[in-house]
Amino acid sequence: MKELARKRDEDLIIKGRGLTTEYFRRDDEGNVESIDTALDHIDISIIKGRFIGIIGHNGCGKSTLAKNINALITPSEGSLTVCGMDVYDEESRMKIRSMAGMVFQNPDNQIVSSIVEEDCAFGPENLGIPSQEIRERVDRALSSVGMFEKRRNSPEHLSGGQKQRVAVAGVLSMEPECIIFDESTAMLDPEGRQDVLNLAHELNEKKGVTVLWITHYMEELTGADHIFVMDNGRIVMEGAPREIFARDEELVQHGLTLPGITLLSRLLKENGIPLRGVSLSVDELYEELMALW
């Protein structure tokens, strides 16, 4: 938080103030039956080039936040700027979508074409980019996700993790500054999950792409720079992973569970082994234990 305060506004890629989204539930005659407040006056600031984790239990509003940032829905209330553009501005909507790309949960339902490279070209084609440049972008995007060799293949015969790589390439070809992964690993096997997470980290480190990693699993956030914990349409906790992971009672209250390794380190500490703090990974715990030996 202190660091945030020091940062000037132009370093912020996403800035929301009092951001609110309400879904109206209507009965058969079209009268409003009830109002579902999916986002409740959220203030959020995200610094360019960071790896940001967003976590919360089912239905707490994570996807709604992502859709707001991608300009897929307009806020009911409050302000939101993405890459310096106002989401209320109709004109900049397409630009926002290309700047803040989105990778969804189901690998099958976001691939449009039956040829990998043509799917990857879908975004730039919609933006009206000249063919020659699309070619360059597609080749570059497919290479950076390691799918260049499969460019003429059909996505049908790819594994779940590979399909998500193609989806990432489809976003990269629009040359975004920010990529939102909305539970993009939820339908993958453990291997594919790790694979896509590593890819996101790689893009973040090598290309400086800001990553918003939305998930249910705490253990996917150990490498994040900053974590937002959401509950009931609000941001209830934020901070570095180590700070957040140390507040386990609060986390449990918000319906989350600590990763196994963090729990283990906590138990060890409670049982008299003088560890310094919570461990975020197996390697870290191992190092600490070896140091005590």
Partner: protein, 266 residues
């Protein structure tokens, strides 16, 4: 299900026909359909046969592969031509009760079978040598003048692209649901037509639910990637004519001209 049909299926090979612009092939298929109707008399028939054989040879698609997938369609062709045998008036050759076989009837039946066979082989030659995506491109470019009449050609092309992507997924899903239902005792194989149709209901409901969910997801994903309908789009691989396409156009037109001349003068 749907496994043994080669009509509309792509056969990968490296041939002149494969690399031709899809617009040329679409035009060729159209000319071929017209020529089927122009074909009467021995010489025009020989010309068309020669042309078809020439195309089959340069396509590098094995003839056996072409025919294998047409078996079910051939049955329809045969039934249709059998009707011709019995219901064409002419000199009676054989008579059995109310059924009469006439000389004209036999000739008509044979001609009709040949016409339909040629029609199917000729058009499947196009789909066998053109990837579905390429074909979609060709169609949308060929039909783009209709855009002036407010026909949403680009949207239709997009729909075709999506259909190509999702039809295999939905077929696989159908199989999965069938197996799941069969494991719980559902029976899709026995009983009469009505019973079979009834048994399909528990299959269709989950299929529709899942199809709508997919459609919803996909629409969102497309929007997130800046798609909006009716907008002008560019292409990764725009269609471009090469010299060989011009030559192909000339050959097709020569063939058509030959048939027309024969029709007039022979």
């Amino acid at each position: 299900m749907f496994r043994n049909i080669t009509l509309g299926q792509y056969y990968p090979a490296e041939s002149v026909l494969h690399v031709l612009d899809p617009r040329v092939k679409l035009f060729g298929a159209l000319v071929w359909i017209i020529s089927i109707f122009l074909m009467d008399g021995l010489f025009s028939f020989l010309l068309a046969t020669g042309f078809l054989m020439f195309l089959i040879i340069i396509s590098k698609v094995p003839f056996s592969f072409m025919v294998r997938g047409l078996r079910s369609i051939m049955i329809i062709v045969i039934i249709a031509s059998v009707f011709n045998i019995f219901f064409t008036p002419g000199n009676t050759l054989v008579e059995a009760g109310p059924l009469k076989i006439t000389d004209k009837g036999i000739i008509n039946a044979v001609l009709m079978a040949i016409r339909m066979f040629y029609l199917i082989i000729g058009t499947s030659l196009m789909t066998l040598t053109t990837t579905p995506n390429n074909l979609t491109d060709g169609l949308s470019r060929s039909l783009s003048p209709l855009e002036k009449l407010r026909v949403p050609v680009t949207d239709i092309a997009m729909m075709m692209t999506i259909a190509l992507r999702f039809i295999p997924i939905l077929i696989e899903e159908t199989n999965k649901i069938m197996k799941a239902q069969m494991a719980r005792g559902a029976d899709f194989e026995h009983g009469g037509l009505i019973k079979k149709a009834k048994n399909m209901v528990p299959l269709l409901v989950p299929l529709f639910v899942s199809a709508f969910r997919r459609a919803n997801d996909l629409a969102l994903a497309m929007e997130a990637r800046c798609y909006s309908s009716g907008k002008k789009r560019t292409k990764l691989n725009p269609l471009k004519y090469a010299r060989r396409d011009a030559i192909a156009y000339i050959i097709i037109l020569l063939f058509l001209a030959g048939l027309i001349l024969m029709k007039i003068f022979l």
